[in-house]
């Protein structure tokens, strides 16, 4: 029997959630035994090469590239799991949602105190740069998300337990400490 296939994606987050995945320490060896990794920053596979069983998503959706890749993930993955505050709510990056995007860009590139002198700044417009969206969206506002793991980041144990439960088709029991945040 072939191993279940896993893919991971990083959108607008700090990579902390991916670090937390790696934080499972030596269990990573078990994981490699259990599953096969497809598209992921961990192995630097850039494109999907086969159907994926579980897609793990870090970060919110702040630009067109994020949105398109998330939709790709939805297309290729049977199950999508969003992990971390950024993916679930937009998190820290979504603090910009309080200010209209145009004002954000103008402050950063035209009028802010660190812009060298007046009238010389421009708002980056290189076609290679992704276009910022009007606000940072939580993943579930863009595609259907099947499971959510809260935390900033969710601890390695939380991710591990969730993954194992999902792979074995068992109910997930997380200890109180793993989902208590204050």
């Amino acid at each position: 029997m072939s191993k279940p296939v896993i893919a991971t994606a990083h959108f607008t987050g700090c990579f902390g959630c991916h670090m937390s995945i790696l934080d499972i320490d030596e269990r990573i060896l078990d994981l490699v035994e259990l599953v096969e990794f497809n598209k992921s920053p961990i192995n630097d596979i850039k494109n999907f090469t086969k159907p994926v069983d579980i897609g793990i998503i870090e970060g919110g959706i702040s630009n067109d590239e994020n949105a398109e890749i998330l939709m790709e993930f939805r297309k290729h993955c049977k199950i999508l799991v969003a992990i971390g505050a950024c993916a679930l709510t937009g998190g820290v990056p979504s603090m910009r949602n309080l200010v209209p995007l145009k004002e954000c860009l103008e402050e950063a590139y035209l009028n802010g105190p660190t812009v060298k002198s007046e009238n010389t700044g421009i708002i980056p417009n290189d076609p290679d740069i992704p276009v910022l969206l009007d606000r940072v969206y939580p993943c579930h506002e863009v595609v259907k998300i099947d499971y959510f793991l809260p935390g900033c980041p969710p601890s390695a144990d939380t991710i591990w337990n969730a993954l194992v439960a999902l792979l074995k088709g068992e109910p997930l029991n997380l200890d109180y400490e793993l989902i208590k945040y204050d």
Binding site: D64, K75, L105, L133, D134, K144
Partner: protein
């Protein structure tokens, strides 16, 4: 300016003995005088009453009828409830907007007109309807509008307009409410008994409250009477805010004597000296006649000191005018409001019968309940108990509106099936019947054999009929919108939940929902229902919960699944600002 209103506010307050308990009346008088009540006036009033400013502002800001900014000389409040929109209220609204050159919520530059929307004003049987300067106008047509405006501009009185005519539309008279009464007969019978015996007679009749909850009236009176307290109060709930209900309006217009007789009997039974009728602000136009009837009853010795010559029985009634808040129909919110506060429901227990108005035992009864009580004392509990069904004795006044030939008020025996009712009112090709108003139940044709009664389909009186061609889910959506507007905001499940419900519902109706959205809709609805603090929140999800199974097809039609992609997310739209701000030309091209 400042000095000018200072003096007047002082005068108004002193008219009510500077008693904060009359804050509703004081606010009404101020608004009648100045057209609004500004923050400055609020501070001033707080000063006069020796209250914290926030307390007064908290109360004033709660009510739709206490505007805090100046409105036009003529205030037009067009009802835009479900039934009205079925009958063309939107077109009438557009005609008003066109004639005045303003949108809803705005005031004309010359300060002559303000245009507002209002929920049901109790005229659903003669929709589209509006209140202009508190005077009701009915059966409006877009073509009427220019003339109405020009006559108002010419300074004509609203009540002289041809549309200022409220029809009674009493289509079926029954033997309990709509029978003649010799004023005082029932009361004299009651006074010949001991209060306990009066309660016993009501008990024999098995009368249950007509306001919605159906609590046995004798038990309520008995609880109230048995409280150890020298002071007790009787309140008649004439707030009638449930969309599509207007039977109390008809009773108050046609049978006010019966209501007051019932109140006096109730006062005697529970041992109260003071009765309050809480009349919804929308019915202010009934006030004059009601006061007249009260004066007449005082004159006849049926009210006031030594009623019917009894040295030991004094009882009088005052009418408290509400100010446009649906939740004030809920008894504890009503009591708060009658005490001159914001109409937020109280925690229970203690129940009003234990600690009600001014902290004293209080029985709150619906208008119709009190009428029944009077009739029972006239004709006997035995007689009454033989009408209707086992658990629902007597008759019920139904307010019928919507898609039928003869909308109006029908006094029917409890136990009538929906089918028979539809026949009676001339309804054909009925898609659904909303029983009990926005907070009630949407009944599908397969259930038209069910009966109007406490044991099967209870209703405070509202029956709205939706014909085959109506967009039923849009109607349900408008009910949800109503609850968003009317939530008092105290508890999160209702304040936030009704808004979440409304948004999710809209998303689905706009064809942007997925199967998951439908599941979410159901979950939100369940949470709002089970977690809300008072009856408003607990019933606010009913438009969804009572259609989601019985009309599952209508929901299914709206769902277009697209492989997990959410149709609510519009990438092009989300990119628009970013593209424009950076001056890129080709959208999304990299």
């Amino acid at each position: 300016m400042t000095h000018h209103y200072r003096e007047q506010i002082k005068n108004i307050a002193s008219k009510y003995g500077n008693d904060r308990g009359y804050l509703m009346n004081i606010a009404h008088d101020i608004v009648n005088e100045f057209g609004y009540i500004s923050d400055e006036m609020v501070s001033n009033l707080a000063d006069v009453l020796n209250l914290p400013v926030v307390q007064v502002r908290d109360m004033i800001s709660f009510y739709a009828f206490f505007p805090r900014k100046p409105l036009g000389k003529n205030v037009i409040r067009l009802c835009n409830a479900v039934i009205e929109r079925m009958k063309g209220a939107d077109e009438v609204g557009k005609a008003f907007e066109k004639a005045l050159g303003i949108s809803f919520g705005e005031t004309t530059k010359d300060n002559l007109f303000t245009l507002l929307h209002t929920p049901c004003i109790g005229l659903s049987d003669q929709a589209p309807s509006a209140l202009i300067n508190k005077i009701p106008l009915t059966n409006l047509k877009p073509a009427d509008v220019p003339q109405i405006i020009s006559e108002l501009k010419a300074g004509k009185d609203v009540s002289d307009l041809p549309q200022a005519r409220v029809q009674l539309n009493l289509k079926k008279e029954g033997e309990v409410i709509c029978a003649p009464l010799d004023s005082g007969t029932a009361l004299r019978n009651a006074l010949n008994m001991k209060p306990e015996e009066v309660i016993g007679e009501i008990n024999k009749s098995r009368l249950r409250g007509r306001g919605g909850a159906g609590f046995p009236t004798a038990m309520k009176w008995d609880f109230c009477r048995k409280q150890k307290s020298p002071i007790r109060y009787l309140i008649c709930n004439a707030d009638e805010g449930e969309p599509g209900t207007f039977k109390d309006r008809v009773i108050l217009t046609e049978y006010p004597d019966l209501v007051f007789e019932g109140m006096t009997i109730a006062g005697y039974a529970i041992g109260a000296k003071e009765g309050i009728m809480y009349l919804r602000g929308e019915y202010a136009y009934l006030l004059e006649n009601l006061e007249k009837v009260l004066a007449k009853r005082r004159h006849l010795g049926l009210l006031g000191e030594h009623i019917c010559g009894r040295e030991d029985f004094n009882f009088d009634i005052r009418i408290q005018l509400g100010a446009g808040a649906y939740v004030c129909g809920e008894e504890s919110a009503l009591i708060e409001s009658a005490e001159g506060k914001r109409g937020a429901p109280r925690d229970r227990p203690p129940f009003p019968v234990q600690k009600g108005y001014k902290g004293e035992p209080t029985s709150v009864n619906n208008v119709e309940t009190l009428c029944c009580a009077a009739r029972i004392l006239e004709k006997g509990g035995e007689w009454f108990s033989k009408i209707g069904t086992k658990d629902s004795t007597g008759t019920k006044m139904l307010s019928v509106s919507g898609d039928c030939e003869h909308p109006g008020v029908y006094e029917v025996e409890y136990g009538i099936t929906i089918e028979n009712l539809l026949e009676l009112v001339g309804a054909k090709d009925t898609q659904a019947v909303q029983v009990g108003g926005a907070s009630g139940k949407c009944v599908a044709p397969k259930d038209f054999g069910r009966r109007i009664s406490f044991e099967d389909l209870p209703t405070g009186g509202s029956i709205m009929i939706f014909g085959k061609n109506r967009d039923l889910l849009e109607c349900m959506y408008q009910f949800v919108e109503f609850f968003v507007e009317e939530s008092c905001g105290w508890c999160v499940p209702c304040r936030a939940g009704t808004t979440l419900l409304e948004k999710k519902f809209r998303q689905i109706l706009d064809g942007k929902g997925t199967a998951q959205s439908l599941a979410e809709l159901r979950r939100i609805a369940q949470t709002v229902k089970s977690m809300s603090r008072c009856g408003l929140g607990q019933t606010s999800a009913n438009p969804v919960l009572t259609t989601i199974y019985d009309f599952a097809d209508l929901y299914a039609e709206k769902i277009k699944e697209e492989n997990g992609k959410l149709l609510t997310f519009d990438l092009q739209k989300a990119m628009k600002v970013g593209i424009e701000a950076s001056g890129r030309t080709k959208e999304g091209v990299k």
